[in-house]
């Protein structure tokens, strides 16, 4: 049984402020668990290899590739997905700055931007670049995303 990786356990995940019971195999990624068991589809699978950032979520406020995290490693930790960020000004800014085309990369960028604004609101261009390089967008050419991220950071520092 265990050899085949087919035994399952029931565990609790803390997502967007709520606790949820999920049934997982030890090999299940957090990405698949969020999507298939909790219906939180905002995190996308686009490479499942840590290369694109479409699956970005926050664990303890830190951006993580949920395709590289196992569900079993994530129990007892606060998890935030795009669905937990309702009506944040980041989302509005991405819309206003025209930073969205097909939208497939958008949740990942927004969560990464959220974490950056929380951790380093005074980030320089270099730091912004370093953070955002973990996410790929194939539609926009990054210019509008860059403007959106900078606007978000500015709003954050003005508030502090």
């Amino acid at each position: 049984m265990i050899k085949n990786g087919s035994s399952k356990s029931v565990v609790k995940l803390h997502v967007n402020g709520d606790s949820h019971e999920v049934t997982i195999r030890s090999a299940d990624t957090l990405l698949l668990t969020l999507r298939e068991q909790l219906g939180l589809n905002g995190a996308k699978r686009a490479c499942e290899n840590g290369d694109c950032g479409a699956c970005t979520i926050l664990i303890n406020g830190e951006p993580m590739h949920s395709c590289l995290s196992l569900a079993i490693e994530s129990i007892n930790q606060p998890i935030t997905t795009i669905e937990g960020l309702k009506a944040s000004n980041i989302q509005e800014t991405f819309v206003e700055k025209w930073a969205i085309q097909c939208g497939y990369c958008t949740p990942g960028f927004i969560l990464n931007c959220h974490a950056l604004a929380e951790t380093e609101p005074n980030a320089t261009d270099e730091v912004i670049e370093e953070w955002m390089q973990s996410n790929l967008c194939r539609c926009t050419g990054y210019q509008e995303i860059k403007e959106a991220v900078k606007t978000v950071l500015q709003a954050k520092t003005n508030k502090i």
Binding site: R35, N41, A54, I100, G103, Q133, G141
Partner: protein
């Protein structure tokens, strides 16, 4: 052309899909699941060219949850959009690394995946055709032994039996041979690049189920739901009416989702388990190499001028690496020929465009459909010609620009109505890139700034009967719903259509409801969402539907208002008397018919419908290319400024400029988005993308870690976009297509700027620093 009322067309109205996308609540195909859904995984070829001796699935069957294992025996026939040359699952032999050989269907995805890894295929390796050059040699090993027998699905495809030529398209205009002798200045250069990929962020995904009634229900990531119907009907013998294709918002496509590849596989998988719903979702590696990719090219161009620098003769030879199958590459071969000169008047043209079979992953359409690739070669040649003539590159282009009264390579007559204003584009781009401050500036000991320019054109080579339809249904509150099978791929097409409706009906945008989903049995026929043709085709259909609705509204209102229809006008949510606008009726009160005070009712719901079909397009003559393959040409000029480091040959892209004449711009904000995104895609392709093959034809970089696309921070420091709006007589409010155009000139402009910077001719892609270094070293020898 329609008169603008100023309500919505030309305004930067926010995209109607953006808010939900930002919330992360939009559902793409892969976001749906349901209990009992079965999963399919592919067994893929580990060789580029090999005979299949046997397939042993004994071990795979031992994995729990496995329900079916299918091989090519289940469907030993060939399919294809232009030439039917591809078995959905390999039969007898494999022709590329990553080709589907078998499908495993299981209860869970992880079971299917594990079982797929346990299917043992015994291969006998065959000699690999690893480049278009090799493929073209006489005596080369054959990728297809019987290409002459394949069924032709559309005209203008000419495979040559006993060779690796999947199609050969010719252009013979004027007398090239004689004129070439008379040319006073000549250049001849060769260009090349490998196959690459679209890399839409959403990988392809599909779900298929076969109902006991015989209905086949397909949910899929596609640009072409009606082509899927056609293919399933043509090759699988399913009645058209029984095939229902659904698609939702698509997570980027760039041409890669325009052809039919995984749907037939999922159909076979579902069939094998009694019609239960099966999902087939491509992993990134499969999306890169198993699914169709972007062509490679080797092009040779010769241009000859008279003593004034006027181009009088051009010869163009294109070897297109279409990989193992022709798919859309056969159409791309044709598109590259019919626009081969670029937007220049070349009276004597000799062009041979070959679609070559190799043992590489097979190619399909890529944003620009032959034009980014063609333009790279043409625009490099123009710069090298300018150098030889000692003429400024912009001046040379201006002297040779194609003008109304000239003819295209296929001898279509150019008129002021069917082409944009190339000269204006060139002039505006010259200003934006600040060309006159100098093409090459040494700004410090080791930094050089250089500029490159590129001019381009493209016609949309749709099917000659490409069409679109639209239905407008009014609600009891006076708002309106649009049914139209144009697909939202990220380009903003649904917002554009809503703007056209708002403009025509003089209605507010929030009164127009657009569903992003497309359902092939509810929505009218739409050729495809490709070829920058949707604003044009669907836009015209939507306008016709508006006009139909307006006449119905007027008719019902004339009853309510007891007056003649001719005296009425529609606008602002009302129908009113022209001479006395205060006297009228609200649309909401007649949207479902008019009710007399005594309860009697007449007319019923206002349902407008409209359609549009391409006019007077013709296929091309086999020997000369003569014909009218597209409705109009959008033209543009792009420019790049780079800062190049003389020490390590790295460079930074400072400025990227696009000036496009796409006719009237319906939404300047989404149009700018499209241009920037296109520029990015073109620059990424030109600067860093290519599949790398080992000597056995195995792709060495089938992951986003090793297949490099431009990341955040590597994009141009500045994107400058401007539009010249010479209206197209036929287009909705004068609009032509723009979707692909941002890509087209980028490779040419980047290569021209770097060639100027490094003072060598860079004629191959991708333009990685190592290539510049190598070329420079060769040059110094």
């Amino acid at each position: 052309m329609q008169d603008r009322t100023g309500t919505a067309v030309g305004k930067p109205i926010q995209r109607i899909d953006a808010v939900e996308k930002a919330a992360g609540t939009v559902r793409y195909i892969d976001d749906y699941t349901l209990p009992g859904l079965a999963h399919a995984k592919l067994v893929k070829s580990s060789y580029a060219h090999a005979k299949i001796n046997s397939i042993d699935s004994t071990e795979a069957w031992k994995v729990p949850g496995v329900r079916a294992i299918i091989t090519g025996k289940m469907f030993p026939y060939h399919i294809g959009p232009i030439l039917a040359d591809r078995p959905p699952l390999a039969i007898e032999k494999v022709r590329y690394y990553g080709e589907p050989v078998a499908i495993v269907v299981a209860d869970h995805e992880h079971q299917a995946k594990r079982a797929a890894a346990l299917v043992k295929v015994d291969y006998e390796p065959l000699q690999v055709v690893n480049s278009v050059r090799d493929a073209f040699q006489t005596g080369a090993p054959l990728v297809h032994e019987n290409s002459g027998q394949y069924m032709k699905i559309i005209s203008n495809v000419y495979p040559v039996q006993g060779t690796n030529i999947g199609s050969h398209i010719k252009i013979r205009k004027g007398d090239f041979i004689k004129t070439w002798e008379a040319c006073t200045t000549k250049v001849k250069e060769t260009y090349s690049f490998n196959l690459s990929d679209h890399v839409a962020l959403e990988t392809r995904s599909t779900r298929v189920e076969i109902k006991s009634s015989g209905k086949v229900i397909i949910h899929t990531t596609t640009q072409s739901p009606f082509t899927i119907k056609k293919v399933m009907n043509q090759f699988f013998n399913i009645e058209l009416g029984n095939i229902i294709v659904h698609t939702t918002i698509v997570g980027g496509a760039f041409g890669g989702k325009g052809t039919v590849q995984l749907e037939p596989l999922a159909y076979l998988a579902s069939k094998a388990i009694g019609g239960k719903m099966v999902k087939l979702n491509y992993e990134r590696e499969e999306d890169l190499i198993t699914a169709p990719c972007h062509i490679g090219v080797e092009a040779t161009i010769s241009l000859g001028t008279n003593k004034d620098g006027k181009i009088i003769a051009g010869q163009y030879t294109f070897l297109i690496d279409s990989g193992a199958y022709t798919d859309q590459a056969a159409g791309i071969t044709r598109a590259m020929a019919l626009d081969c000169t670029g937007p220049y008047n070349v009276p004597n043209v000799w062009c041979d465009s070959y679609c070559m079979y190799t043992n590489h992953p097979y190619a399909t359409s890529f944003r620009g459909y032959a034009h980014p690739e063609l333009t790279f070669a043409v625009e490099r040649t123009m710069d090298q010609l300018a150098k030889k003539l000692s003429i400024d590159p912009i001046e040379l282009r201006k002297m040779n620009t194609i003008q109304p009264g000239d003819t295209s390579p296929t001898q279509s007559v150019i008129t002021a109505n069917n082409i944009g204003d190339t000269l204006k584009c060139l002039e505006r781009a010259r200003e934006l890139i600040q060309w006159d401050e100098g093409q090459r500036l040494e700004i410090s000991n080791n930094k050089i700034r250089a500029k490159g320019i590129s001019t381009f054109w493209k016609t949309s080579t749709t099917a000659t009967n490409a069409q679109s339809g639209a239905i407008l249904k009014f609600e009891a509150d006076g708002s309106v719903n649009l049914n139209c099978a144009a697909i939202e791929l990220g380009q903003g097409t649904k917002t554009i259509l809503a703007q056209i409706i708002a403009e025509r009906l003089k209605l507010e945008m929030n009164k127009i409801h657009i569903t992003m989903e497309v359902n092939s049995s509810y929505d009218p026929h739409q050729w495809r969402t490709v070829a920058s043709s949707t604003t044009f085709l669907a836009g015209r259909a939507v306008l016709a539907a508006c006009d139909d609705a307006i006449s119905q509204l007027k008719r019902t209102a004339s009853i309510a208002l007891k007056c003649s229809k001719e005296d009425l006008e529609v606008g602002g949510g009302r129908v009113y008397l022209k001479p006395n606008p205060d006297y009228g009726v609200q649309i909401k009160d007649i949207a479902l018919g008019y009710q007399y005070p005594n309860g009697h009712a007449v007319e019923g719901q206002v349902v407008g419908h409209g359609k549009y079909i391409q006019r007077h397009l013709t296929p091309m003559d086999k020997e000369t290319g003569f014909g009218k393959p597209g409705p109009w040409w959008s033209v543009g000029t792009q420019a790049i400024e780079v800062e190049w480091d003389t020490r390590d040959y790295t460079y930074k892209i400072l400025k990227a400029v696009t000036v496009l004449d796409g006719g009237t711009i319906i939404n300047p904000a989404t149009a700018t988005q499209q241009m920037r995104g296109g520029m990015y895609l073109g620059l990424s392709f030109a600067s860093s993308e290519a599949f790398l093959f080992d000597e056995g034809g195995i792709v060495q970089n089938p992951q986003l870690r090793t297949y490099q696309i431009i990341r955040f921070g590597e994009q141009p420091v500045e994107y400058l976009v401007d539009f010249i709006e010479s209206p197209a007589a036929d287009g909705p409010y004068g609009a032509r297509g723009i979707g692909e155009y941002g890509v087209i000139g980028m490779a040419g402009a980047l290569a021209n700027s770097l060639s100027a910077a490094a003072q060598v001719e860079l004629n191959h892609l991708p333009l990685i620093p190592e290539l510049i270094w190598k070329t420079k070293k060769e040059h110094l020898k």
